[in-house]
């Protein structure tokens, strides 16, 4: 009779454990409850960084511990997990995190964006449009968008509370007057739901427009800085700009050398020591799927001298 009474706080989850000696999805149940409560508040206050009792994880701080703690609080047997770093499924850290969840939660994994229910990412949003009921989990090193303008936590806390973002606009405007443009190429600040200025994590600003009214739920985890924040589906996310200096994304004059894609974010590969280069998709899954569908790039001809510019003109690709 006594056995069926399982008091919550005593259930470490040993039974469901995949890796012997550890909890299901590594975290103990009490920690998961704390993180889950935090996630719900984050969703209810879009763009606001909710402090949480981040735990020490078996991976180093700065290597995705925030994202991992969120994913660990979500993941279950019906989920299919995709992990990317720099857009690629096969970079070492992505492989390592994917393996962590296979071992600790017995998670099913995939490289196909469309198939995934949870996508944990570092520095990119996939090119494939995310759909409703998918969840994208961003790894965030510095969650505070105002940190490099005002390093004091107390001070920025006050600014967020009062929606006093003057210094951010001053900083951006200084950039324009000194450099003729906003000198921010990644981690470009956004305003969420017309209320909180938020760091989109160090994604290139090329990806910023994808965040606006995205049908998927976006969760952000910063383990070392102990913050979780969120953007619910279909929420307005605006990249900060000025009327006379509207927000623009990077464009390349060339196409992916492997799949010929003309609208994806490109990695630059140095081919030799004479300056010849090649450009390929950073999103490996996007690229592979295009190649599989018969798209081809022009990989025999490396680009001689890089000509990359910001502009609005579309690339003419295969």
């Amino acid at each position: 009779m006594k056995k069926q009474f399982n008091r919550q706080s005593e259930t470490g989850g040993g039974r469901s454990s995949v890796m012997e000696g550890y909890n299901f999805a590594y975290l103990d149940e009490q920690t998961k409850r704390m993180i889950r409560r935090t996630i719900l508040k984050a969703v209810a206050i879009p763009g606001y960084q909710v402090p949480f009792g981040s735990r020490e994880m078996p991976l180093p701080y700065g290597w995705g511990t925030g994202g991992i703690q969120i994913t660990a609080s979500l993941i279950g047997s019906e989920d299919i997990l995709k992990v990317i770093d720099q857009g690629a499924d096969d970079t070492t850290n992505a492989v390592s995190i994917r393996r962590f969840f296979s071992r600790t939660a017995g998670a099913l994994t995939t490289t196909r964006t469309r198939e995934a229910t949870i996508i944990q990412t570092r520095h990119r949003i996939p090119e494939t449009h995310l759909t409703k009921d998918q969840i994208i989990v961003y790894q965030v090193p510095i969650p505070e968008p105002l940190r490099f303008i005002e390093p004091r936590a107390k001070e920025v806390c006050r600014m967020h509370a009062l929606k006093e973002y003057g210094i951010m606009f001053v900083k951006l405007y200084e950039d324009i007057s000194r450099h003729g443009r906003i000198a921010k190429a990644f981690d470009y600040p956004v305003l969420v739901n017309d209320r909180y200025v938020m760091s989109p994590s160090p994604i290139p600003k090329f990806d910023n427009p994808k965040m606006d009214r995205m049908p998927a739920l976006q969760l952000f985890g910063a383990g070392r800085e102990k913050r979780i924040y969120a953007v619910p589906p279909y929420t307005k996310v605006k990249s900060l700009d000025f009327e006379d200096y509207p927000f623009e994304v990077e464009r390349w004059p060339h196409c992916c050398a492997l799949c010929g894609s003309g609208n994806s974010y490109l990695d630059e590969i140095i081919m030799d020591d004479r300056g010849s280069k090649m450009f390929i998709c950073s999103d490996t899954n996007h690229c592979n799927e295009r190649v599989a569908r018969g798209h081809k790039g022009n990989q025999e001809e490396p680009v001689e001298k890089a000509q990359i510019s910001i502009g609005t003109g579309a690339r003419k690709c295969a």
Partner: protein, 375 residues
């Protein structure tokens, strides 16, 4: 034809194999036993337990072996393991006044009740490499137990600070409510201003090197208003007690060695606060004297704000100290720069190429104007 070179599972597995091989070193040399680390590298074990926030000599020794003696890595291993442990509750506060003393000195008084006990210390060793240690057994002294009698050391030695406090010359924060719940740095996010308990927990877990350098900066005038005095440093075993809910009274769960340091800092009084000495407090697992002393100095410096003293130096700046003291966080973030960043770098490259092109363009135009003016 370009083939993307990216690390896969195999590369990681191979790296781990290489690491294991490197760790083992030359196989003709006998492998280290955990007991050897526990017994003969005891101060490493103590540091790893202190900054790892977990008292377990065996686990700390394994972590040191696994980390090839890299103590920051070993601390990380211990911390990550600690997270997964279930929590039964909180122990009663340890009572250092009834410590089983192995070492105890005060430099503030010539003699103190219970006496000065030098104990095991490097303090007066001449730092000459002892070549006799090269050969096992040769370097090992016979037991010194006959010469140094434990009997001579009395156990209940009053703390020097308590003597001073009785005179009203020391702050009495220790008289705080014992039943008050204490925040836990490992469960709650660090918010500012942090309470002293959070600061002390942070300093205890903080990197020895970082805390030491901060303490040094204070002594060199970067924040210290006067010369601090070592009230007392004591090292020995204390009893840990725990009150199980079902019993309702404390039971003895074992003894642990700790190092405790109390520094006296002169405070001339302000407003309603009378002039007196203010305590700086340091506590570590095992024997970590340098850390305990540095911690006590920084603890006092971090009290500047609440004492109404002006603070302007790094070691007095709560946010600066508390957010940068943790070596697991610090090394993780510094070393994360090893992770690929080519997407961000590409974004910056695009920006910089544009800036450079415009710069060249502008200077060419300007040069043209100057040339015209010259004509």
């Amino acid at each position: 034809m370009y083939v993307a070179v990216k690390g896969g599972e195999e590369a990681i597995a191979n790296a781990h194999k290489l690491l294991a091989e490197k760790r083992r070193g030359d196989r003709s040399v006998p492998e280290l036993e955990i007991s050897q680390i526990k017994e003969q590298l005891g101060l490493s074990v103590d540091r790893v337990m202190t900054e790892g926030s977990l008292y377990d000599r065996e686990l700390a020794a394994i972590a040191i072996k696994q980390a090839q003696g890299d103590l920051v890595e070993a601390i990380f291993l211990l911390r990550a393991y600690r997270t997964t442990l279930p929590r039964f509750g909180f122990s009663e506060p340890i009572e250092t006044a009834t410590m089983e003393i192995q070492r105890r000195i005060s430099s503030s008084f010539k003699d103190i009740p219970g006496g000065q006990v030098l104990g095991p210390t490097y303090d007066y060793t001449h730092r000459l490499i002892d070549f006799a240690l090269r050969v096992p057994e040769n370097g090992n002294p016979g037991t010194c137990r006959e010469e140094v009698s434990d009997e001579a050391i009395q156990n209940d030695m009053p703390r020097v600070a308590d003597l001073l406090a009785a005179e009203g010359l020391l702050d009495d924060e220790a008289a705080n409510d014992k039943n008050r719940s204490v925040a836990d740095l490992t469960r709650d996010p660090l918010e500012l201003p942090a309470g002293r308990e959070m600061r002390l927990q942070n300093l205890a877990r903080g990197d020895e090197g970082f805390i030491l350098s901060l303490a040094y900066s204070l002594l060199r005038g970067f924040g210290s208003s006067g010369h601090p005095f070592l009230g007392e440093i004591r090292f020995g075993e204390v009893t840990v007690e725990f009150v199980p809910q079902e019993l309702g009274f404390p039971i003895d769960v074992g003894g642990i060695p700790v190092t405790e340091c109390i520094m006296f800092n002169r405070f001339m009084g302000s407003g309603e606060t009378p002039p007196r000495f203010i305590k700086g407090y340091g506590l570590t697992f095992g024997h970590c004297e340098r850390k305990a002393m540095a911690m006590a100095l920084v603890d006092y410096a971090l009290r500047s704000g609440e004492l109404g003293e002006k603070f302007e130096y790094p070691a007095q700046d709560e946010e600066f100290v508390l957010f940068h003291s943790d070596n697991v966080q610090a090394s993780g973030f510094v070393e994360h720069l090893k992770l690929p960043h080519y997407v961000d770098f590409q974004a910056d490259l695009v920006l910089m190429r544009n800036c450079l092109a415009e710069f060249k363009n502008d200077s060419r135009n300007n040069k043209g104007i100057e040339d015209e003016e010259a004509i």
